[in-house]
């Protein structure tokens, strides 16, 4: 089960986003038949327009934390974080800019 914690705050015309995703980020290991399960891509949209998209892999820690900024954004705007994993599953969370 993946969970997302998402916070977006705007100050002086810049929006700061903090995200913590609960995810095992498991790669393959010799002698271990557990299938790999890791995030492939994270994407963030502001009013349905992509502001950041990142391709990631098994080099990223378990339960990864991401923080980034973009210019623009005002209070009350819709912000969405979307992830896709290597098995094709996706998850997302909406929030409003504070």
């Amino acid at each position: 089960m993946s969970k997302i914690r998402l916070l977006a705050k705007t100050k002086n015309g810049t929006t700061q986003i903090k995200a913590l995703i609960k995810h095992p980020m498991r790669g393959t290991k010799e002698g271990d038949s557990t299938p790999a399960d890791y995030l492939r891509e994270i994407k963030c949209t502001h009013n349905d327009k992509v502001v950041i998209s990142a391709i990631i892999g098994t080099g990223i820690s378990k339960n990864p934390y991401f923080s980034f900024k973009f210019k623009g954004g005002s209070k009350g705007d819709k912000l969405t974080l979307i992830w896709t994993d290597n098995q094709g599953k996706t998850g997302s969370k909406d929030t409003k800019i504070r």
Binding site: R5, L20, K22, P24, N63, Y65
Partner: protein, 416 residues
Amino acid sequence: MQYPLFTTALSGLTLLIALSLQQPTNAAEMSLEVPLELEKPSYAAPWKRYSHSRWKRTDWKDFSNMRYERSLPIAKPHKFETPIRGNPENGKKLVNNRKRGGSCLACHIFPDASLPGNVGPDFSLIGLWGRSDERLFNYIYDPRKFNPYTVMPPWGKHKLFTKNEIKDIVSYLKTLTKASDFKTPEDNPANRPIPIETRDNLDPFENPGMFTMELGEELFTTSGPTGKSCQDCHSDENAFSTWAVTMPKFETRLNKIIGIEEFVTRHARATTGAEYLAQSEQNLGLATYLRYLANGQIIAVDDSDEKTQAAIKRGKDLTKRKIGQLNFACMDCHAMNTNKWIRGQYLVKPLGMYDHFPTYRTSRGEIWDIRKRFQWCNVSVRANELPPDAPEYGDIEIYLATFNNGRILSVPGIRH
């Protein structure tokens, strides 16, 4: 007019007697009226060691653990008529080999070592110490003959190195006759900066352990198979504002110390019917949440009754027991050698070890309760661990908890 006054005093006395009769156990012990399931183990039986991550699979049944003592007798010194002629190059490799119980560098400074420890003496110039080959061999084979208080493992007697390998190590030690400098300032343990945890453990973005706490909060209001939830009985908002700082406690019916984790399992079975097995996500969730509610309170475990005091004494004795293939006691590292380094790991005092559990370990990406931490310590010194609800762990937990009385609870913690 004196008569009614006398009745009031008398009835007050009666009330007092009645109150004291209602409580058969000491306040330091768990009340007999608390519903608990008492028959089954609180973990998935039979206990199996965790198979993931770095938990070694070896069975160390030939060595002592927290349940039984099987220490091998101290070895008789070997006699050597001629100087030992081993292979110093192989000796150097063995000294650096981390797979044989952590390498000699874990405790001793050697030339060119990266991040050596400083629990034992500096060996940079041991070749000039004038020790005979025989003495060096026997000291490595089993140092207990020479120093009964040593914390060094009996490398030969406990079969971590063969006799020929120890001969190679002796030959290598004999070559160490020239002073050498550390490659970097941090390689000198005397200069290495002491690690200090500065992360805000209660920041939900900083500590993924807060996900676990939230799961517990959710489970608290979730109905179990009997149709009841925790909240149905514990509806008072402040019901748990201090409970967690009074745990663990002596449980008369189980005749052992019961910690919050085991309590959650047994109490839920007897009330909501939910099965929250030890070390499951749900169990950790509730155990973390119930402590979270008491965050900021001073740890105040009551040790006023005999049974609790006896448990604390047993726990203290267990922390002095030499266990495992490496023959370490808790106290060897955490009392006799605190503020020293084992390679890059800094040894701390038992004070402050307890108040942040369950703790999210960033090196594992998992939240660990105190019992799992004990199990990991045991496996690290190559001793078989016990199931999480073992009475021995209860004794150690209450010893540690009362030792930490007065500290402030802050859960979930975050550590490396």
